[in-house]
């Protein structure tokens, strides 16, 4: 499905664009207002004020991180109809079109390796309901486009305190579910299935590393990695592995899918870095969707403050 074009997009200040949850709140409010007689008496300006108040409450109450990006949020339709998820096909519209048969429930994740509490965990055990928060993150794809996405989920470090990695755990390996009967992209060996990814243990424990279960306050749609996906906002999008079924703590650096596929193009770290180009294109600039203009890419996708200490003294040209 294609996004409705907004011909005057560039002329609308981002702050005027209604985020989806505000839009939902507005609809709820309007429905409630419509049911009562009061709406007629209040008049449009009072309705608008109430909507605004409500939106502000939602913002204050819910979002812990990335509030300053709210004005740049991409809308729900764009986020859920344009992405890479090769398990459902290699074109950007494929995930939205082909993910309908996927069943994200029931779900469990096998935690194993260098941990004191290995076992099968439910999604609610990994991201506990009382720890759920909303975070707005920039997402920078290795293909040089970017979005701003409001995730819902929990910090990965919360999980670490529960499964208790041993002192041997130097890396965390992740694995996506393998279900060719539900994921048509897996019926062809475009990549080696199942998709695997990995982080260094300190990267996994970083405050930004997030396990998302939702998007725009709703459950994750299948095409965006339901029911549980990683979000690592200072790395290129392909590091943020989707539909996770295995989390393994290891002593050795685990293999990662794109690195296996094209080692000179995709490294293990894959930190967003405007100074280290992809062999086929520059990473110095990016296109913020749905626009067509290029803007400069920032080091670590703008999250240097939170992450750069982990890479001090490392040659990031070598460890791309």
């Amino acid at each position: 499905m294609w996004i409705k074009k907004k011909p005057s997009w560039d002329t609308i200040p981002p702050s005027e664009i209604t985020p989806y949850d505000v839009y939902l709140n507005r609809r709820q409010f309007m429905a409630a207002a419509g049911a009562g007689v009061a709406a007629a008496a209040l008049g449009p300006s009072a309705v608008a004020a109430a909507v605004r108040r409500r939106a502000q409450e939602a913002q204050v109450g819910e979002v812990a991180f990335g509030e300053e990006l709210r004005g740049e949020l991409n809308d729900y339709d764009l986020i859920t109809t344009y992405n890479n998820y090769y398990e459902f096909g290699t074109r950007k519209q494929d995930p939205a079109q082909n993910a309908g048969d996927f069943r994200p429930e029931p779900w469990s994740v096998e935690v194993s390796g260098e941990v004191h509490r290995p076992g099968r965990y439910s999604v609610e055990e990994l991201v506990r309901p009382d720890e759920v928060e909303d975070r707005i993150y920039r997402l920078r794809c290795v293909e040089a486009w970017s979005m701003v996405v409001p995730w819902r989920g929990g910090a990965f470090r919360n999980l670490l305190t529960r499964v208790e990695p041993t002192s041997n755990a130097k890396f965390v390996a992740f694995e996506t579910v393998y279900r060719p009967e539900e994921m048509p992209g897996q019926r062809r060996r475009v990549l080696e299935w199942p998709y695997v990814e990995g982080l260094r243990i300190d990267e996994a424990a970083n405050e930004l590393t997030f396990l998302a279960t939702g998007l725009y306050g709703r459950d994750l749609p299948n095409q965006n990695g339901a029911p549980l996906r990683l979000v690592v906002p200072w790395k290129y999008g392909f590091k943020s592995i989707k539909s996770i079924v295995k989390i393994t703590f290891t002593e050795e650096m685990p293999p990662t899918s794109w690195n296996l596929s094209a080692p000179h193009e995709y490294g293990f770290y894959a930190n967003v870095n405007p100074e280290v180009d992809h062999p086929r294109w520059s990473q110095a600039r990016e296109t913020r969707l749905p626009g067509i203009r290029k803007s400069p890419t920032t080091m670590f996708n703008g999250y240097g403050e939170q992450v750069e200490h982990m890479y001090r003294g490392m040659d990031l040209t070598r460890w791309y």
Partner: protein
């Protein structure tokens, strides 16, 4: 389509239908063929323009849609132009030759759009980035070469140039073969992991080029 109330596509001419094989019937068939080429080649552009200006836009990433769409159209039409001669030999329909230049020029038009979108919208005339791309990235170098090969072919496609260049025109236009091969390489290189398209295109392109080699070998053997 059964049950359709749409009028028939073929107009019924008031004059008696021309006899098959007559000069008039031949002219009509050529006209039909050329119209079909115009419609087929113009379709991607018309569709893109319609969606951008009147329809629901070019999706979440318009720039990508423009660059990939124009590049693929250029390559497909260029491949089709290389298929004209083999198809003419196989079908013995010599008038197919009359659309070869048309196809070549359409391919060039899409290549020009492709390059223009890259330079203008994608790179924003930032020459530093463009020079870096064109000199340091083999993928872009190959694309640039393909385009540069097509330029003289498009410029010398007029009757006047054909006359002026004589035998050299044929030599010059031999460049369309390396252009096709380089275009394929550029297309293939542009893929991330899915090589289905390049494999199909490569097989078609190879069969068209192989056909020429095979004919030449057979002919030489017959003469010698």
């Amino acid at each position: 389509m059964t049950g359709s109330h749409e009028p028939s596509v073929t107009p019924s001419p008031p004059e008696p239908a021309p006899r098959p094989g007559s000069a008039r019937s031949r002219r009509r068939r050529v006209l039909l063929l050329k119209s079909a080429v115009w419609v087929a080649c113009g379709f991607p552009l018309a569709r893109g323009l319609y969606r951008w200006f009147l329809g629901d836009g070019l999706g979440a990433n318009p720039l990508e849609a423009m660059i990939l769409g124009s590049g693929l159209s250029a390559f497909v039409i260029l491949t089709a132009s290389l298929g004209v001669t083999p198809m003419r030999r196989i079908t013995r329909w010599n008038d197919l030759q009359k659309v070869r230049r048309l196809l070549g020029l359409w391919a060039f038009a899409y290549a020009l759009i492709h390059v223009s979108v890259y330079l203008w919208l994608d790179q924003g005339w930032a020459w530093g980035f463009i020079v870096e791309d064109v000199t340091e990235r083999p993928f872009i170098v190959v694309g640039t070469l393909t385009f540069l090969l097509l330029v003289p072919l498009a410029l010398t496609s007029t009757r006047g140039w054909i006359r002026r260049l004589g035998r050299n025109w044929v030599r010059l236009h031999w460049l369309v073969y390396p252009a096709g091969a380089l275009g394929w390489l550029h297309y293939t290189w542009g893929q991330k992991a899915d090589l289905r398209g390049p494999l199909i295109a490569g097989a078609i392109l190879a069969s068209f080029l192989g056909f020429r080699v095979w004919r030449r070998v057979v002919r030489n053997r017959a003469v010698g």
